[in-house]
């Protein structure tokens, strides 16, 4: 119970801070919106089927804007060396990771909830009857991205070149989830059911489980000294 209380304390603290500044959400949402608008103008939808390019564009918007959020996440903990303040407390160090990870997940999901309707309108795609499977795919893929991203963000936060370091470390490792997310989103947007994307879904779930375990085991060593 203590562990869960500590995680919740960190999540609450991050939400209160974000509600006050709206730094993470606004930067993520504006970036995602810009990506969608730029692609709308760059692609001639009279020549290309929207459904062929839309899944890739959606995930480019999600992942790139998510990276902005991840970069900011541990930056707040570096301000006044607050991360050290957390490490001085008796709480389990992995609670710090899970607290930050859950905060990042919430911010990304909120950004996605605002971005998805705009994407649907601009690309004129229909998701009726596939809303729940699409939400499941987006949630699990975002979870994988945030699980790995939070871990790497904690590593890169101490580096001067953190803005470059995080994408350099994150993107090569997150490729399996991105491919699975784009492919399964495409299949769902074409009107097929969840059964048609089960193999991609399993890949995402396995990725999530692996990085959940890796993060739990390694975060202690990452933040030590």
């Amino acid at each position: 119970m203590r562990f869960l209380k500590d995680i919740w304390a960190i999540v609450q603290k991050d939400i209160v801070s974000e509600l006050r500044t709206r730094e993470i959400f606004s930067s993520m949402f504006i970036f995602a919106l810009l990506v969608i608008i730029i692609f709308i103008f760059a692609i001639d939808l009279s020549e290309v089927r929207g459904i062929d390019v839309a899944p890739g564009i959606l995930w480019v918007a999600f992942i790139f804007s998510g990276t902005i959020g991840l970069n900011r996440s541990f930056l707040f903990e570096k301000e006044n060396n607050c991360l050290e303040g957390l490490l001085l407390s008796p709480m389990d160090r992995s609670a710090i990771y899970f607290g930050k990870m859950l905060g990042n997940l919430i911010f990304m999901i909120v950004m996605e909830a605002f971005t998805l309707p705009i994407f649907i309108i601009f690309f004129n795609v229909s998701i009726s009857g596939r809303i729940l499977p699409l939400i499941l795919i987006i949630f699990l893929s975002t979870l994988g991205f945030v699980l790995l991203g939070t871990l790497l963000s904690s590593m890169s936060a101490s580096v001067k070149t953190r803005d470059i370091m995080l994408p350099v470390l994150l993107y090569p490792l997150i490729v399996p989830v991105i491919i699975a997310a784009v492919k399964s989103t495409g299949v769902l947007l074409e009107g097929k059911s969840l059964e048609g994307v089960m193999h991609w879904l399993k890949l995402i779930i396995v990725f999530d489980i692996i990085f959940l375990a890796v993060s739990f085991m390694t975060f202690d060593y990452i933040v030590e000294e």
């Binding site: 304390a9 006044n80 060396n81």
Partner: protein
Amino acid sequence: MKGGWHGQTCLSVQEGEEKYFQVKERMDNTRADDYIIEVSGVTKSFGNIEALRGIDLRIKKGEFLTIFGPNGAGKTTLINILSNLMKPSSGTVSIGGINLNDGGDAVRRDIGVISHNTYLYNNLTPYENIRFYGKIYGVDNLEERVHNVIEQVGLKGRMYDQVGTFSRGMQQRLSLARALIHNPSVIFLDEPYTGLDQHAAHLLKVLLNRFHTDENRTTVMTTHNIERGLEMCDQVAIQVRGKILYKETLSKIDRDNFEEIYFAVCKANNQ
């Protein structure tokens, strides 16, 4: 838990925290002439650089030790090791009879640290900051305790303003409230006066003196400011190039000549 070291209700009983209660019990039962902090042969290296070269230190319950030393003497590294933020390369540190390697998490609950970094979130208010730290330390009667400590450091009137708008002195006073929210028995102060003007430094000194003297906390402070360092302590030590080269009771030294002693010790070691 009731009847802690300072006789206040402060920490809650939690699952799997037997180790903490062992630590607390030992600290409660520590007599005034017992050593509460024992450091033996501690070394710390960062690559080829030896930050600490065999530190031996023993501090009694309720004592105030000030460690002086020039920049690069390893004072912050020593505080980081004492507060269990960093592991020594070799040697042992025990607090309340518990080796930090065995019961570090439990010991951390009874330690408060104030450094030149405030560990405060600029976007949050004093109330939110202190409440957050109170939660992660598992403090009982949290609301009451938060209001009490903020009032004690004289910031009750600014309780709901963002910390980012505070002066350095106010932030450092709030940092003191943060370090005391869980009512620790041991306090480590790492250059607490850094960046403070005379007035802010004086206010901080008054508060530190109150929390040390009135509540009998064991305190270790590092500083290179001789005047400030001698104000409250009852033991002094000089650390140079990773070693404690001088340790004496304040009553046995001539305060006016301490600066000469300090420079002589530093000079003898090529600082």
